[in-house]
């Protein structure tokens, strides 16, 4: 790990002053479950690390207008223990519990989950976020891509590592991003971006900005998350689906379906969402929605199986949201 300065601000203002203009200048430290390891591997070598855990206003879960506000440094454990969150957003709790390591849930933060870097093994071995070989060739499409994207036409083929992302997108959540020049609000769905060139990041965040909170609209939905994972032990999902349904009786009035670990971003299954409107959830409609969700998939040489997994994840998430046992 490259030596670095350590800043420990008590206020956002102090934090903004410590942050630099480029990703080489500084990095934000919250739980540290990703940053420390990626720095040890020299994949990211910021000159300064800015710890934001000491900034009080970044913590806490509360009601704010029509939203539940989750502070950026709330840990996954705090999130899953919160009664209001548990009552309204089972899909979010299910996603957080998918991080099946108490240590990571105790340390990892909600905003950190959104900002963590992809786990692509080419990226982590130093071949860049776009996975390029010695001659600039794309390594992923012809290489080992069983854990890569099935919704991407390049040049980014990694999958977003965010565990909470699908649930937050399905719930219509947004993030508040602050900097010295003020605040802006971005839908979580828009927060994830697929880079198109070298040097670009996978999230809509500038080096001098900090995610301060996540706002989740409170209106009642039936929501659930289903992850397919190889191991029960801590493992990245092979595919994950989160759904949020607004119902009139047993009829769906609107559906949000967000897919994780299948694209560089959190992937919205809009075709499946549309076809569910006006329907009742049954095994047959859930299966049809699963089919619709992957209709536009473009799997790589080694990950066709993820298309099937995604179908199943959508089906099972819908059935779980509707309380139907498959």
């Amino acid at each position: 790990m490259q030596s670095f300065e350590y800043a420990n601000p008590a206020t956002l203002k102090e934090a903004f002053a410590a942050l630099g203009a480029t990703w080489e200048d500084s990095a934000v430290l919250a739980g540290g479950t990703d940053l420390l390891s990626i720095m040890k591997d020299y994949v990211q070598s910021p000159k300064r690390v800015v710890n934001i855990k000491g900034i009080k206003e970044l913590g806490g879960i509360s009601r704010k207008g029509g939203n539940i506000r989750v502070g950026a440094t709330v840990t996954l454990d705090e999130l899953t223990s919160n009664a209001a969150v548990r009552a309204s957003f089972p899909g979010l709790v299910q996603a957080a519990l998918g991080v099946s390591s108490p240590q990571l849930r105790n340390m990892g933060t909600v905003a950190g989950d959104l900002c963590q870097r992809p786990r692509c093994w080419y990226f982590r071995r130093g071949f860049g976020l776009l996975g390029k070989g010695p001659n600039g060739e794309a390594l992923v499409p012809t290489g080992e891509n069983k854990f890569h994207a099935i919704f991407s036409n390049g040049p980014a083929y990694f999958v977003s590592a965010s565990t909470l992302g699908p649930a937050l997108v399905a719930l219509g959540a947004s993030v508040t991003i602050a900097s010295a020049s003020g605040n802006r609000t971005v839908l979580v769905e828009k927060f994830f971006v697929a880079p198109t060139g070298d040097g670009q990041r996978e999230i809509d965040l500038k080096p001098n900005e900090i995610v301060t909170e996540i706002l989740i609209p409170a209106p009642a939905t039936k929501n659930a998350t289903y992850e397919v994972r190889q191991r029960e032990l801590l493992d990245w999902p092979l595919s994950a689906a989160s759904v949020a349904l607004r119902m009139n009786g047993t009829t769906i009035t609107s559906a949000s379906i967000a897919l994780g670990h299948v694209a560089p971003t959190i992937w919205r299954a809009t075709q499946a969402e549309k076809m569910l409107v006006g329907k009742t959830i049954t095994v047959a409609t859930a299966e049809a929605a699963g089919e619709a969700a992957v209709a536009n998939a473009t799997p790589l040489s080694g990950n066709k199986y993820k298309v099937q997994l995604t179908k199943v994840a959508v089906k099972r998430a819908l059935l779980a949201a509707a309380g139907i046992k498959a």
Binding site: W121, P134, Q230, R231, Y305
Partner: protein, 713 residues
């Protein structure tokens, strides 16, 4: 000379008891110091530069910038300019510095001018291996062509098991201090008594200068015998620094890249059988790779070795990847997987229960009665009768199935010397230059000494883990327990004989009329003519009794204390989610004989560990190489996946403890129990699905690919 043979099974007081391991409390409390825990005063840390290329020549190396970094003590090169590197991860330079951070910075400051050369790192497809595949010659027995033409049923299948790594929890490495002519060496090793000589040769000093200490070590599985290049260079760096201790332990990525792999094994297999299931012919065309040196043929057909007509062809594929090392039962897990998979598929083709097929052909094994008994016992424990169904039969998306794997191993005792000292105060020391890999070796030695001396274990002080003790063999090939139990037995009885001579006059009988029972020396069978152990020791005079005992492998058969030849049967039950291809373990049953079992509890622990390793290799574990960059893509514990506690299911271990096995003597256990599980699990998946997933680990992608458009409801 004392009668060394083991007391009869029913008469043993300590051996055969379920004894907790002596070092359990210190290990679980974190007080046991492993070599990697040691941080002596003045320690220098190291970092290693390894090759980023799978095949390359080094044009030049420039160390100037690295040497200029404050805190760098020394930099040693493993290779010189002009060297050709044959795998990514190969050792280039070792930096010693005041801190690990400085050492790592210095590694990054080393400048190398590389000439990158073409590489081959993939072996799944033999056709693509080209000239890197070297035929190993054909072996033919009987008349396979005739046998196949006369067979009623012929099975043809293709199976594969990829390279896996040792993934030792404590990585390879050591702490070492070289001051003047004294070298203190703390390696994480499987070979306390032989590693000094190897290191001495590498650094050109007399072996007598090297003091080896390894009280505990965190896993080796066959990969931790030699001192390794980093051991030698760390020694030189210590000398160069004026004797400061130097610590070198591979980081996780390097550990998984160069510290040993188990070779892959792929095979096209053909088996011919009569309608009643009698197997008449075997043919295999196989290939394997364990790195640049290729890979040997595993012993196939496995266990069912006496198939009358056989033809084997094998090719060794040379890859630009980290080299193989012995991996817990070298080549046997691969052989068991290939053979038992094909036999299970043959059973399906015959519409036969595979259990019946194995029973039918038990005569083709070298220990037919043992395998028949073990098959029966394992079937009972997994409830085969109720759980087995025709392959793929069942209802619903979740499907269960059961499968079988078999194993065989040698495990005779290695050369071992033991010294037993009885002090005049009655205290007892047992010394061997042996090592405890976590198997319970220390505990078993204590049990043998206690049994032999008629003392409780608490009266015995076992000293192992240092090369100043009498030499005992390296722990490989499951040879340790046979060796150390024999040498400890003989040394104990030799010492006891000397003690008898001292106390015989006081008890008024000849020395050979005495026995040691329950901390007493008494006239045989007469507790009334006795004295306590302590009183007896006082008769010794001022000098302790020091006696040696030795296991000489060539004499073992005559003496009968240890022998070789272990059989095992494992059966698995799995549940497969047919929509996702995710396989979950439900149960793994291991039935294992290993002759006289010194400590059933630590023996079972060995088997539990082996079962977990089998689950890892069957469901999760594989090294992933990248064709273009030539690098290992998953040298970490994130994508190099091992099973966690929730993935293991129920494990049932049945040590096949019977007088008939016990009479054979002590046999090693570490390896035989690590063989059959992979096959059992893969075959259970076949039983669940009715479709063969040809390559392990049986991951979601492989299951779904094998299922194709087949749907289950």
């Amino acid at each position: 000379m004392p009668e060394y043979k083991w007391p009869p099974m029913g008469k043993r007081k300590v051996m055969g008891q379920r004894i907790n391991r002596l070092d359990g409390p210190v290990k679980s409390a974190g007080r046991a110091k492993y070599p990697s825990d040691l941080n002596p005063q003045g320690l220098l840390q190291t970092a290693m530069l390894t090759s980023p290329y799978a095949h390359a020549k080094i044009r030049s190396i420039n160390l100037d910038a690295a040497k200029a970094i404050p805190g760098v003590s020394g930099i040693n090169l493993f290779v010189q300019p002009g060297a050709e590197i044959q795998w990514a991860g190969a050792e280039i330079a070792l930096v010693a510095a005041n801190t690990e951070e400085i050492a790592r910075d210095a590694v990054r400051a080393i400048k190398i001018d590389w000439e990158v050369l073409p590489h081959v790192v993939k072996d799944e497809n033999l056709a693509k291996a080209g000239t890197r595949a070297k035929a190993a010659g054909e072996q033919v027995t009987g008349d396979p062509e005739k046998a196949f033409s006369e067979a009623n049923v012929t099975l043809e299948g293709e199976y594969g098991i990829p390279v896996i790594t040792h993934c030792c929890l404590e990585p390879h490495g050591n702490v070492i201090s070289w001051k003047g002519d004294k070298i203190d060496y703390w390696p994480s090793t499987q070979a306390v008594s032989t590693v000094a000589t190897q290191l001495a040769t590498l650094i050109n000093v007399p072996a007598t200068n090297i003091n080896v200490t390894c009280d505990y070590m965190g896993g080796g599985f066959g990969s931790k015998f030699p001192p390794d290049s980093w051991g030698a260079e760390s020694a030189k760096l210590s000398k160069g620094s004026g004797g400061r201790p130097v610590k070198v332990f591979l980081d996780r990525a390097t550990e998984l890249t160069i510290a040993g792999v188990r070779p892959s094994h792929y095979a096209k297999i053909k088996i011919g059988a009569k309608s009643d299931g009698s197997i008449t012919a075997w043919q295999s065309d196989s290939w394997s790779s364990g790195g640049f040196g290729g890979g040997g043929m595993s012993p196939i057909p496995y266990v069912f070795v006496n198939i009358p007509n056989r033809r084997n062809n094998h090719a060794a594929v040379s890859l630009n990847s980290g080299p193989q090392r012995a991996w817990r039962a070298p080549n046997h897990p691969q052989a068991a997987f290939l053979t038992c998979s094909a036999l299970t598929d043959l059973a399906a083709k015959l519409n036969m229960d595979p259990l019946a097929l194995l029973h039918k052909n038990a005569g083709l094994t070298l220990r037919a009665d043992t395998y028949r008994n073990q098959l029966e016992k394992a079937a009972e424990l997994i409830d085969w009768k109720n759980k087995y169904h025709a392959p793929g039969e069942g209802k619903g998306t979740l499907r269960r199935g059961v499968g079988i794997g078999v194993a065989t191993w040698g495990g005779g005792g290695h050369a071992s010397k033991c010294k037993v000292t009885i002090h005049p105060d009655g205290s007892v020391e047992v010394e061997l230059g042996s090592q405890d890999l976590g198997t319970g070796n220390r505990t078993c030695i204590s049990m043998v000494a206690a049994e032999s001396l008629g003392l409780p274990m608490s009266a015995i002080k076992v000293k192992i883990g240092n090369n100043s003790y009498p030499a005992s063999g390296p722990s490989g090939g499951s040879t340790t327990i046979g060796g150390v139990s024999t040498s400890t037995r003989k040394a104990s009885l030799n010492a006891l004989e000397k003690l008898f001579e001292k106390v015989a006059p006081a008890l008024g009988v000849a020395a050979d009329q005495l026995e040691a029972v329950d901390s007493r020396i008494q006239v045989k069978g007469n507790p009334n003519k006795a004295m306590s152990w302590k009183q007896a020791a006082q008769k010794m005079g001022p000098s302790p009794i020091e006696e040696m005992g030795e296991n000489v492998p060539a004499q073992a058969a005559r003496e009968g204390l240890n022998t070789l030849g272990a059989a095992g049967v494992q059966m698995a039950e799995v549940e497969v989610d047919t929509e996702t291809g995710i396989v979950k373990m439900r149960k793994l049953v291991a039935v294992q004989d290993c002759g006289l079992v010194v400590n059933p509890k630590t023996a079972e622990s060995q088997v539990f560990g082996a079962c977990i390793m089998s689950i890892c290799a069957a469901l999760y574990e594989e090294r992933v190489m990248d064709a273009v960059t030539g690098r290992v893509l998953n040298p970490d514990m994130e994508f190099y996946k091992l099973a966690g506690l929730p993935d293991i299911g129920e494990i049932v271990v049945h040590m096949d403890i019977q007088e008939v096995h016990d009479k054979r003597g002590v046999i090693g256990l570490g390896e035989p129990c690590a063989i059959g599980g992979i096959a059992a699990i893969a075959n259970a998946v076949h039983n669940a699905l009715g479709v063969r997933v040809p390559t392990v680990p049986v991951t979601s992608d492989r299951v779904l690919n094998a299922l194709g458009n087949k749907r289950y409801a």
